[in-house]
């Protein structure tokens, strides 16, 4: 504590003086502002901004890895004067799902486990924000971070396609469908990752659990789908796709967003089945939000 010393002593001139306590009578912007602040802090944190250099490496690296193939495709398309991009907008995220999975597994626990582990949560709830504000800010931040990660390569593809003078209307439609698809994917993946991470204060467990949930479900689903297809019971293939996050997105975009399915034999869901897919995706998103609300209701002080 700085103690007020008179300036009479020589050599003391450089001392920083305690100028006394000043009251704050400026504006207090309240709950909505606090929620926005938490959102922007979490979103920046998802790319390591405002955190240590070490924590910037992985998210930035994954972002680059996500964009490089798009750049190469664009370069090839421009150079060879191709009539179409080598990959559909909607297909890109499905191909790059491992990168997306890694990203969400590393940043999901970062977003919530830290607050739980270091018991920072009570500090948030001793301020004007409520449980719902915290959950919404964190959910929105991770979903936005994922959207940035998945939409950036689509923008690269789109800009490249326009530079290659491909058909504007065609490309714009595909780009729009791609954006809608990755928006849905971002919400779904963010929800799943946050629910899993919010269970454990240990970041390592969170990362492992999220990766496991995404890859094991996908591995199991695609294996069983392949077997079903080989056994020529391809009617079961679309129904099996309901059981892993990425195949859910694949199904929705095949049914509604003009994508070609990545399922074995390209047996995508029909429109009716597509509605089931969409319902399941929306139910999962709402369910994740509900579970997070339940998780934090008791996390008060």
């Amino acid at each position: 504590m700085a103690v007020e010393h008179p300036l009479t002593q020589p050599g003391e001139q450089t001392r920083i003086h305690n100028i006394g306590y000043r009251n704050y009578d400026g504006p207090r912007l309240g709950r909505a502002y606090a929620r926005r602040s938490l959102y922007s802090q979490s979103l920046r944190g998802a790319y390591g901004l405002g955190r240590s250099v070490k924590s910037k490496i992985l998210p930035m690296l994954l972002f680059v890895v996500m964009c490089v193939p798009a750049l190469i495709m664009v370069a090839v398309a421009v150079a060879t004067k191709a009539k179409d991009l080598p990959v559909d907008y909607t297909r890109y995220a499905v191909i790059m799902q491992a990168v997306i999975g890694l990203y969400v597994a590393s940043q999901g626990p970062q977003a919530v486990s830290r607050d739980l582990r270091f018991k920072t949560v009570p500090l948030y709830f001793s301020r004007p924000i409520e449980t719902a504000d915290y959950v919404r800010a964190k959910y929105a931040a991770l979903a936005s971070a994922l959207f940035i990660l998945t939409a950036a390569p689509l923008i690269v593809l789109y800009v490249g396609a326009l530079l290659a003078k491909l058909d504007f209307a065609d490309q714009s439609k595909g780009f729009g469908q791609g954006l809608a698809s990755v928006a849905l994917l971002s919400l779904l993946f963010a929800g799943i990752a946050l629910v899993i991470s919010a269970v454990t204060p240990r970041r390592g467990f969170g990362i492992a659990a999220v990766i496991a949930a995404l890859t094991i479900s996908y591995g199991a689903v695609s294996t069983v789908q392949a077997i079903a297809f080989e056994r020529s019971s391809s009617g079961a293939v679309p129904w099996l796709g309901l059981f892993s996050p990425i195949t859910l997105i694949d199904g929705v975009q095949t049914a509604f967003l003009g994508a070609s399915s990545a399922f074995p034999g390209q047996v995508g869901p029909s429109s009716a089945q597509g509605l089931v897919y969409l319902a399941v995706v929306l139910a999962l998103i709402v369910g994740c939000y509900g579970l997070l609300m339940r998780r934090y209701r008791k996390a008060g002080l």
């Binding site: 504590m1 700085a2 920083i16 305690n18 006394g20 306590y21 000043r22 009251n23 704050y24 400026g26 504006p27 207090r28 912007l29 309240g30 709950r31 502002y33 606090a34 602040s37 938490l38 802090q41 405002g50 955190r51 240590s52 924590s55 830290r114 607050d115 270091f118 018991k119 920072t120 009570p122 500090l123 948030y124 709830f125 001793s126 301020r127 004007p128 924000i129 409520e130 008060g300 002080l301």
Partner: protein
Amino acid sequence: MTVIATESLSKRYPRVTALDRLSVDVGPGVTGLVGANGAGKSTLIKILLGLSPATEGRAHVLGLDVATEGAAIRERVGYMPEHDCLPPDVSATEFVVHMARMSGLPPAAARERTADTLRHVGLYEERYRPIGGYSTGMKQRVKLAQALVHDPQLVFLDEPTNGLDPVGRDDMLGLIRRIHTDFGISVLVTSHLLGELERTCDHVVVVDGGKLLRSSSTTDFTKTTTTLAIEVTDSDEHPDGTSAVREVLHARGIETHDGGGLPGAGHVLLLTAESEDTYDLVRDTVADLGLGLVRMEQRRHHIAEVFTDSDEQRKEAVGHGG
């Protein structure tokens, strides 16, 4: 003016009653909330912050109803938790700025207030380093800073001296005193050490088992007799100095007790100081006998003392205190 007012406030969980019809009024200034672990201190703070509904009864903080105006209360009140709550990988400045914004301060004001507040709690150059490398004392200061950064009208400090060494403890108590005298912020500070609060608080509220035991100003507490511990040397003339002093004091009508079963307490005499004169009497007695006075100190009150006036229990309480 009343800062905190509760009216038969109760909080019952399925198996425990954390607060039992607690009615207490707290005015401006520094107020100590004393109670053993599990006495209901943290539950009370939780209710006062509007985070946990009371089972019955009502409470007002700064004139706002905790049941309906929780957000408004939390905007005007600061809270320093008992437990660790700081992420180790960010600097104190970054962390406190973030917390200031969470309290609704605009970005520029948040930065300015953070610099001010950290300086007031005594963190200087180290505030740019990650919190992970801080000592316990520095961490406590950061915790205090985040509770003060939005210039609240009232702060709740939950066990702020926990884990501090004696010097850090004194610093923290001095700082708490300044929060009221210099900053003009009312303080509710919890502790399980009454002696510690006596030096800092204007008013002390004692709770036990969720019930109010006592609420009075600190001067009332100090009016009650204090226990004095003395220890003397032996000399050639008096091979057992302790018993020599005891005999003389007995002759002067002062009851003494042994120091209890504590290690090294064999040479400690405990006596009740009725007034200032007792101190003089002890000093003179020891001097007359030609002995050295190794120590003469006030024993800190133990929480149990407050609600037991029987001498027997006091002796026991004193044995555990200090």
